[in-house]
């Protein structure tokens, strides 16, 4: 479990990015921090691996105050995936994935073998192993980034808008991969996004933030959709709600569900309907 206790962060230039933030992040599930730009999501995420140290308060992992843990050691047991992959451009895919295991003394052959397995895990063809990052598509680079994040078999995986820069189709694919990985690996994932749809899709628990890292609401997608805590939330999830609020329309003898934008979302399966059988 990751626990933020009354954490604040004031940067050297005086910006108060996070103001008195407290949160418990349960293990083996996905917690999504969502909020508009500048709400402090990245700052909060980077406090977990000490890329940012809080100016007040503490962050604990499994009861241990991480301020007492050496940053390099801490970071090597936490996976980190960022928006523009952050891969090392001068290293081949396989060496990028194997970077941290190699640093911690895993022999090259073993690290490479493991890296190839991880390529399978994230759905990358092994034939890409000897390419350099700039010979991959954006989506492939992000998969390599995820594989690298998993290379040390961390309990915690931090993901900062990992799919922010890929096109919608690839993004949807990658989101499904994250769901699958989570089902198979059961990591504690802390995922940052400003896309509420992505948050609803991926999050077992969603933390809605506004400026200063102030929590507006936490809950499951269903809870937030059903009962937005205030107008801010209602507005933030508004688009999603509009899309998700379905109503029935009858076309012939079929009942079609139409969303708030007038797009057909599906056909209501009548009892004994031919669709369901097969």
């Amino acid at each position: 479990m990751i626990e933020f206790r009354e954490v604040s962060k004031r940067f050297a230039d005086g910006t108060l990015a996070v103001d008195g933030f407290s949160l418990q992040i349960p293990p083996h599930s996905t917690t999504v921090l969502v909020g508009s730009s500048g709400s402090g999501k990245t700052t909060l995420l980077r406090m977990i691996n000490r890329m940012v140290d809080p100016t007040e308060g503490t962050v604990e992992i499994d009861g241990e105050d991480i301020a007492t843990v050496e940053p390099v050691k801490l970071r090597r047991r936490i996976g980190y995936v960022m928006q523009n992959s952050g891969l090392l451009p001068h290293r081949r895919v396989i060496d990028n994935i194997a970077t941290v295991p190699r640093l911690t003394g895993v022999p090259k052959a073993a690290a490479h073998e493991r890296a190839l397995e991880l390529m399978d895990v994230v759905g990358l063809d092994r034939s890409l192993a000897r390419r350099y990052p700039n010979q991959l598509s954006g989506g492939q680079q992000q998969r390599v980034g995820v594989a690298r994040g998993l290379a040390v078999d961390p309990n915690i995986l931090l993901m900062d808008e990992p799919f922010g820069a890929v096109d919608p189709i690839v993004r949807a694919e990658l989101q499904q991969e994250v769901l699958r990985l989570q089902r198979e690996l059961g990591k504690t994932i802390v995922f940052v996004t400003h896309d509420i749809d992505e948050a609803f899709l991926l999050g077992d628990r969603i933390v809605l933030l506004e400026t200063g890292g102030r929590i507006v609401q936490t809950g499951t997608a269903e809870e937030i959709l059903a009962e937005p805590a205030n107008d801010f939330v209602a507005e933030f999830v508004g688009a999603a709600r509009g899309k998700r609020a379905l109503h029935e329309e009858r076309i012939g003898d079929r009942t079609v569900l139409v969303d708030g934008l007038g797009q057909p979302a599906g056909v209501l399966d009548s009892e004994g309907g031919s669709e369901a059988g097969g």
């Binding site: 390099v72 451009p89 970077t99 700039n134 010979q135």
Partner: protein, 245 residues
């Protein structure tokens, strides 16, 4: 009016007598000796500045001032300071001061030109500062560092010609000897040899640059292979470009 013929004849004699090799040896010893000393001084400082991002203004100021110093005057001044017996030290000092600014600039600009997110990610996955420096910043900054070494070497190789003024030999020796004696063919011949040497060194550094481009992709220019596994080089891209359009 056979200056060209006379010059070629002088060069032939200079090469034939073996004096070329002696003077070239002296010249290259001074050149590479001072560039090496400058590397030892400038690279650690440049890396420190590049890695920490601190002290850049100071470095720019000092290197600017060092560049403005006239090497010849500096050399003579240093000779008068350290004494005639120690004049190789004076010469080395002047050449090192000449070489340091370019190498320093190459070292720190090479690191500063690296995408900040690359370095940030390296830190976030758990590299130590040393590992970031040696495994990320040094290789990715090498191309610009070599560029700095290249210009330092070219400046020094030209300036070492002046070492002959304080009787230290080098390829400047036959040149300076020729001028008061009005031996034009010798002056020309010696000058040509210095120029050829500079061009050869420049070409050698160009070659190193091409090799580095092949060995260390920096991610500066996105590139896609036509075939999997192939690692395209800059040359390959240039060749491909016209057919693609």
């Amino acid at each position: 009016m056979d200056l060209i013929g006379a010059t070629l004849a002088w060069i032939a004699g200079f090469v034939g007598s073996g004096e070329l090799w002696q003077r070239l040896g002296e010249h290259l010893t001074y050149t590479f000796g001072s560039v090496l000393i400058a590397l030892v001084i400038a690279v650690p400082i440049g890396y420190l500045i590049g890695h920490t991002g601190k002290g850049r203004e100071l470095a720019v100021g000092i290197t600017g001032a060092a560049r403005a110093l006239p090497s010849f005057g500096l050399m003579l001044l240093l000779v008068s300071l350290v004494g005639v017996v120690q004049r190789p030290i004076a010469a080395y000092a002047a050449f090192v001061i000449l070489a340091v600014p370019s190498i320093l600039a190459g070292a720190y600009s090479g690191i500063q030109a690296i995408d900040k997110t690359t370095v940030d990610a390296a830190r976030a996955i758990g590299m130590t500062e040393w590992q970031i420096l040696w495994k990320v910043e040094a290789p990715l900054g090498l191309r610009l560092l070599v560029g700095g070494i290249r210009s330092a070497t070219l400046q020094v190789v030209a300036t070492v010609t002046l070492a002959a003024y304080i009787n230290l030999g080098g390829l400047g020796y036959p040149l300076l000897q020729a001028i008061p004696l009005r031996r034009d063919e010798q002056a020309f011949g010696a000058a040509i040899i210095v120029i050829v040497l500079a061009l050869l060194l420049d070409a050698a550094f160009g070659l190193i640059g091409v090799l580095l481009d092949r060995l260390i992709p920096t991610g500066a220019a996105p590139r896609r292979p036509r075939r999997p596994r192939a690692v395209p080089t800059r040359r390959a891209r240039m060749v491909e470009a016209p057919t693609a359009s």
